[in-house]
Symmetry: C2
DNA sequence: CTAGATCATTACATCGATGTAATGAACGCG
DNA sequence: CGCGTTCATTACATCGATGTAATGATCTAG
């Protein structure tokens, strides 16, 4: 049987509460008593029962992280940083995926307290996921990514600005006919896709280039497979544009793959740029030009916001913007023809 | 304030225990009483407190998943399946990363019960991680991947056979000088790397090809970056072999990248094969030949083993082998020159 | 119409850690 | 030397759900 405070107390010749006092360090305990208790803890290999502690003080030390699909490189890298940063601060991350069922995000948040979690970090996909914020009685919650409303704490990268920057980068390399991959369409509608398209359109407008919706490719989901499908069909229908700005690196990988299959080289025939700066993008062939941001900082700021929210449930919601940069690699190059 | 069984009981005009009986369904409850209780639960939006339940019956419903590094595509895909399968069966997955600190795996397992987890799924990296099994008083534990000892339940893919199969595949395509990427070296020693090398050597021996350790490339870690570094140095030292068998797809991606940087084409100049069948491998340029296995099945079998272990802590340890297949894609092709 | 059996429901104790209020020991000062 | 104060330590109650044993209600049979 696993030892409890009681056993430790008996072993050290003190009361259970003194053991608790030693562990939590709020009340002063005489050095020799403290030493005896600590010795007993080591001797018995005592580990506190978090269920009991959680029941008593209403805290579990667990944070739920809800991502659409953990298997995508972007979610995986973000999750990695969340797990690390949380660990350093004594929190533990519990995982939930939201992409599988339409209402998963909603049920997760509303039932959060049942799952022993003190707070939730939610990466919404569909625009309607924003509604989670309208109901009262929520657990402490921080949303990451583009969210349409201001009732909840939020951490994001400025997608409009970043998409504008990337489009300008492609324009500066001499590309004129620039396609985008990952637009909203039937059955796929995300705030992120809309904002990135906005940024792209702003840059085109500023450069005096007319919009051409034949090169605005829709994808049912943000995966290499979907991008490869969309780009493949587009290539079958007509000549490729000078460049593709893909709304994520995963889409860019699928795009390069489709171009390669159709006999086009990158960046020679068609330049390709992504977004997110996933680790493998650097080792794609060719290495991906992308929008980068500090994912570690993203996780840190998010966790800080969540911890603040847990401490003060009624504080004013904050939006934190993480800075981004365009990283130029070999997948885009100066247009020579 | 959040409602408790007590509130529900009062609202339904019954005792707390009856509410509990309705929820757990072990004892018979009269239909009309049951209906009243269920109505009360809905009315009050009652959600049971898992801390209290966990304290009472010693179960939390949480399983810890310990992977070396969640940000790698392989870990991410595996984790995805674990989260999904667990969710379907009413379990929740809590994450831990073990690659960061040397002893993380060990402390995690020994302190598992403190973290409210009913069981642990551990993917050990270093060979010494096997020692976790030697100590008594462990939580229910299943190890995934290659483990050197038999005291613990285990799920794996037969790395020796798979590596032999892949090497034979490369031989059948006409390749003779076959390099491997991802071998153990100073500071990097995993059972997986050893077993895959064994399988490779067996196939070479069977084909009567002498071993050449100049093409056995060591990597400090299994990342594209490490592979690119190792392969880059190797290319600088001499002509490339006919093919590279990389011990993971991530290594293969780095290998292709390094070949590309050095001006070699794949599979034209050098064929490249991987292991794991990660999603992005299919969209690498060229698409990766790899060893594939059913990751969903892997997760299901692992969870089943863990659940059985939780029910019967003293049962005889089992080893489950998940079948594998070689998937031929464009990154390997018949040698013509 | 009542004793006895059946079965739904209840009161109470329990899981382990910790806040609260009370206890007791040690110390300083007149 | 004794009283008052400080401060470590203790006893007890509590968090919410649930197992146990007892209670009470309902029904059947004589």
């Amino acid at each position: 049987m696993r030892p409890t405070v009681k056993d430790v107390a008996a072993h050290a010749g003190v009361s259970p509460k003194t053991v608790s006092n030693v562990m939590n360090g709020v009340v002063f305990v005489r050095p020799d008593t403290r030493a005896r208790v600590e010795q007993a803890i080591t001797d018995l290999e005592y580990v506190p029962n978090l269920s009991a502690r959680g029941l008593r003080n209403g805290r579990s030390g667990v944070i739920a992280l809800a991502m659409p699909d953990l298997s995508t490189p972007y979610s995986a890298e973000m999750s990695h940083h969340f797990v690390e940063v949380a660990h350093e601060q004594g929190w533990v991350i519990q995982f939930e995926e939201t992409a599988v069922e339409p209402d998963r995000a909603w049920t997760l948040v509303s039932r959060a307290r049942a799952h022993l979690v003190d707070g939730v970090i939610l990466n919404p996909i569909t625009i309607e996921d924003g509604r989670v914020a309208t109901s009262a009685g929520l657990p402490p919650l921080v949303m990451i990514g583009e969210v349409q409303q201001t009732a909840v704490d939020q951490v994001w990268v400025d997608s409009v600005a970043a998409a504008r920057d990337m489009t300008n980068h492609l324009l500066s390399l001499g590309h004129r006919r620039i396609g985008v991959v990952g637009c909203v369409g039937p059955g796929f509608d995300t705030a992120t896709a809309r904002l990135r398209l906005d940024g792209y359109l702003e840059a085109l407008a500023a450069a005096g280039i007319p919009r051409d919706d034949r090169v605005e490719l829709t994808c049912p989901e943000w995966t290499p497979r979907a991008a490869a499908g969309a780009v493949g069909r587009s290539l079958a229908a007509g000549p490729p544009p000078d460049a593709f700005f893909c709304f994520t690196d995963s889409l860019a990988i699928g795009t390069i793959s489709a171009l390669w299959s159709a006999g086009h080289t990158t960046p020679g025939d068609v330049a390709v740029a992504g977004f997110d700066d996933i680790a493998d993008g650097q080792f794609a062939t060719p290495p991906l030009t992308t929008v980068s941001f500090d994912k570690r900082m993203f996780a840190e700021r998010t966790l800080a916001l969540l911890v603040a929210r847990m401490a003060n449930p009624h504080g004013i919601p904050t939006r934190v913007t993480i800075p981004h940069t365009v990283i130029a690699r070999a997948s885009t190059a100066t247009r020579t023809r």
